[in-house]
């Protein structure tokens, strides 16, 4: 079987260069056995254009740094095989995140802001005793937490979300999923009121319009629809009960 010739159309733009203009550049490449987009990009950078910028670390769908728009869909470059794609492949950087250059974006700042905003740590009044035996957690709860924790912070759900594309402060599926993770954690002592305060607004739960691009595109197949809906129901209940603090002068 003869090898396919692949044509890559890649977004090029380095915002720090004063005269640079965004444009698409094409490269051609022979397909190899089991080639991923990440491998192909490496070939292009090595053999054709050392100035091409893109991110990767683990090459095994663990670190989440290689996400990009591949033929219109947000995907992990290291997990996407060229044989599953037509011979013309268009690559764009993820929208919403700050563009560093070409295909490389800064997801780190966004996710750090999200973690701080959702206060992604177990809130407890208990003193930690390093000598005590660890508290037990039932298996079901542990699995539920684990399911949400599988998020690799790649940003595909954020880039695919129409709301996040126009609302900079929207925490997106990754953020709402994060809150859901702490809601099921029995060690976290936060109340419904506390959670409502964090995401009971258009920045969080109520900003989501259920367009499900997150659910369609999460490379880790997190059950985002159900997670989003779970948080929405919890937050609505908490909100209806919450004592509101409206400031009046």
């Amino acid at each position: 079987m003869s090898k396919r010739k692949l044509t890559f159309s890649i977004f090029r733009y380095k915002p720090q260069e004063p005269d640079a203009k965004p444009h698409m550049q094409t490269y051609q490449l022979e397909e190899e056995m089991g080639m991923t987009i990440f491998v192909a990009l490496g070939r292009i950078r090595e053999d054709q254009d050392p100035s091409l910028m893109f991110d990767f670390v683990c090459r095994a769908a663990i670190c989440g740094s290689c996400a990009m728009i591949i033929n219109g869909k947000p995907k992990l470059a290291c997990k996407t095989l060229t044989r599953d794609l037509p011979s013309t492949i268009t690559l764009m950087p993820l929208p919403v995140f700050k563009l560093i250059g070409d295909l490389s974006v800064d997801t780190g700042t966004w996710f750090r802001h999200m973690s701080l905003k959702t206060e992604s740590w177990v809130h407890t009044s208990k003193k930690f005793d390093p000598k005590a035996i660890e508290e037990k957690m039932d298996n079901e709860t542990a699995l539920e937490i684990y399911e949400a924790e599988r998020c690799v912070e790649c940003g595909c759900c954020i880039a695919g979300c129409a709301t996040a594309n126009i609302r900079e402060d929207f925490l997106g599926a990754a953020g709402i999923n994060r809150v859901g993770r702490f809601m099921v954690d029995p060690r976290d002592e936060r109340t419904g009121d506390d959670y409502f305060e964090v995401i009971g607004s258009d920045e969080g739960t109520f900003g989501c319009m259920a367009l499900m691009a997150c659910d369609d595109n999460c490379p880790m197949q997190l059950p985002l629809q159900m997670q989003l809906a779970f948080v929405r129901r919890k937050i609505a209940q908490a909100g209806l009960k919450a004592k509101t603090k409206v400031v009046t002068l």
């Binding site: 594309n165 129901r233 909100g239 209806l240 509101t244």
Partner: protein
Amino acid sequence: MFVQKTLTRNPKAELYYDLVELFSGFLLVGFLWTHMLFVATILLGSELFNNLSAGLDKYYLSYVGIPFIILVAFMHIFTAGRRVPTRYQEQKIIWRHAKMLKGTDTWVWVFQVITGVSIFMLGAIHVWVVVSGWPIQAMTSAERMHAFWWFYIILLILGEYHAGFGIYRQFVKWGWFPRKPIGYISKLITVIILSLGIAALFVFYTMAKGGGIV
């Protein structure tokens, strides 16, 4: 911290908006489907249709119902409409985004907005015409539909589309059921109501043409 935001913040506002969007939507879907079932009574003969109309009139259901539904419709427009981007750049972002992603649900939402706006305009005309030709009688309806059948077909399709997908999206959003089966069920109901509507339209149309009561 911003003074203007701190002094005006109502933490529950967006929760209420969301709930009003949900309930007004459900009421409107319920109304639309009952409305179409009432209209479809013409399939069983114009006598039943006229009696039903007169009955609703007699117990003032029409007089309470119509203003109530108009009110609910406005609540729905305000709460659901707040999502619609008004700035040109935002609209363009959404449009590009939907084209790029080819995500069905993102397109569904874009069409929800377009159909929503169209329903608002056509619906207003429809209500105006019906109310000014009060009471509802099989024969007057037949004449209207004979002359403006295309108008009613468009309104019917837009309405059913908007309602069917709207209800699907709310179920998805609140997660009462998984995505796939809900998609099938809402499509099925939409098809049933749509065929009832078109059948009724056809009966009215031939009625007016034949110039007589069936």
